[in-house]
């Protein structure tokens, strides 16, 4: 896996502006974006996923150019093949666990009547969600929601998984447990990840390449 990010985007609110000008290259299985809140980590992740449009720059994943302002390339989010686990998980509240996890399996205008199949069953098993298949997101705990969000993203078979502060919403004991779980998932599905955190403990536990972002800039290692 190789990801090359070189992006420039200026955001303006009424009385202030923020310039994100981040660039880094990583070939590690796990890349950790580390920095204080408001540094531009989430914006960077959204730019990689295609959810934030950049003014200038280049984003290349393996051999695929996702964004290149000089050549007018800007793949829409749906064609980037990148999974995104949102900070508050963004599970579809009107769908149960199976329907959430199987969401990407059917790409049509309407959801299929039956979401369950053997692959989804295996995935639910892998994420210890089989018992919760019929539950709705509002009925799940924080840790369960995170597992659903991960399973939903992985079911789409992405080339890269982006995780925005995956542990921020959880208490300390659960956080430690889920760090190990995340690493296990990385191994099992052989999927490269870019993970955002502001917690030095996460950085130590996850390993991989660390990219430190502050005030919209990548600090030299």
């Amino acid at each position: 896996m190789r990801i090359e990010v070189d992006i420039d985007r200026t955001l303006r609110a009424r009385d202030r502006q923020f310039r994100l000008a981040a660039s880094f290259v990583s070939t590690a299985g796990i890349t950790v974006l580390f920095g204080p809140s408001g540094a531009g980590k989430t914006l960077t992740l959204r730019a990689i996923a295609g959810l934030l449009h950049c003014d200038h720059g280049r984003i290349v994943l393996n051999e695929t150019t996702l964004f290149d302002s000089t050549h007018g390339i800007d793949l829409p989010a749906r064609r980037r093949g990148i999974g995104f686990v949102f900070q508050d998980y963004a599970l579809f509240p009107h769908l149960n666990v199976v329907q959430n996890v199987a969401f990407a399996r059917a790409q049509g205008w309407f959801a299929p009547r039956r979401a369950m199949d053997a692959d989804i069953g295996d995935l639910l098993e892998a994420f210890a969600l089989s018992e919760l298949a019929e539950s709705y997101p509002a009925q799940l705990s924080g840790g369960q929601r995170q597992r659903v969000a991960l399973a939903r993203a992985i079911a789409a078979q992405p080339h890269l998984l982006l995780l925005d502060e995956p542990f921020a919403a959880l208490d300390a004991p659960l956080r430690a447990h889920l760090r190990t779980e995340l690493l296990a998932i990385r191994e099992r599905f052989a999927i490269p990840m870019v993970v955002i955190t502001h917690d030095p403990d996460d950085v130590a536990a996850l390993g991989g390449t660390v990219v430190t972002i502050e005030k919209g800039r990548v600090l030299e290692a």
């Binding site: 989010a77 749906r78 579809f92």
Partner: protein, 227 residues
């Protein structure tokens, strides 16, 4: 009783079809407006809201101008298909749909604005096209608000009088809806018929409101606990 039942059935038929038309058009326009910004959108939105604030007779007049034999749409329909909408129950459907349209539009606009954009973004990262995102995420999450708009639209269509009278007239058994039949009965001094029709109107309205309230209370399972 037949002379009372006929206007009721006609009114229900006209109102139901008008609500469907207003609902589809309202949701489509709400989505188109929601993706734009600036002056052009504000102008379009106020033009589309006009049927709500114009006197129904003014609305009826403009519908006659457009749908009449010499009108843009009416002339074209007559020349190509031999169809005339004036003085037909289909004309009454159009009149009621136009009158009810701003209600579905505004309800849908508000309901779509309430949907957290993050759910739509999540669906995009999962590979869905914009149309699929709309049908599988935005619309289901906005559904209750859209339904509430449809209910208001149906009530508005049931009570529609002025525009319907001008476009469809008052042909007993063919275009005479409840509200028009009541007006005619009162004008003819037929108090017995008028009282029956008024009572039917009242009971129908109450039944529909109760049905709608029960329907709206039964939210999709996943949304129940979140509320």
């Amino acid at each position: 009783m037949t002379e009372a039942l006929q206007p009721l059935l006609l009114t229900l038929k006209v109102s139901a079809l008008a609500t469907v038309l207003a609902l589809v058009a309202g949701v489509a326009c709400a989505r188109a407006l929601g993706r734009r910004r600036g002056l052009a959108r504000d102008v379009a939105e106020s033009l589309l809201t006009l049927p709500l604030v114009l006197p129904p007779t003014v609305l009826g007049y403009y519908l006659l101008v457009v749908l009449g034999r010499n009108g843009v749409i009416g002339g074209w329909l007559h020349a190509n298909f031999g169809i005339s909408l004036i003085f037909t129950w289909q004309g009454a459907v159009i009149a009621a749909a136009v009158a009810a349209f701003p209600l579905t539009l505004r309800a849908a606009r508000a309901a779509f604005a309430e949907v957290d954009a993050q759910f739509e973004q999540a669906a995009r990262t999962l590979g869905l096209t914009e149309t699929a995102v709309f049908f599988r995420v935005s619309l289901p999450l906005a559904w209750r608000g859209v339904c509430a708009g449809a209910l208001l639209a149906f009530a508005r269509a049931m009570g529609e009088f002025g525009a319907t009278l001008m476009v469809a007239g008052s042909l007993p058994g063919r275009t005479q809806t409840l509200s028009i039949a009541i007006y005619n009965a009162v004008m003819a001094g037929d108090d017995a018929t008028a009282q029956t029709l008024v009572l039917i109107s009242l009971v129908t309205a109450v039944v529909i409101l109760i049905l709608a309230a029960r329907l709206l209370r039964r939210a999709p399972r996943g949304l129940q606990d979140a509320a």
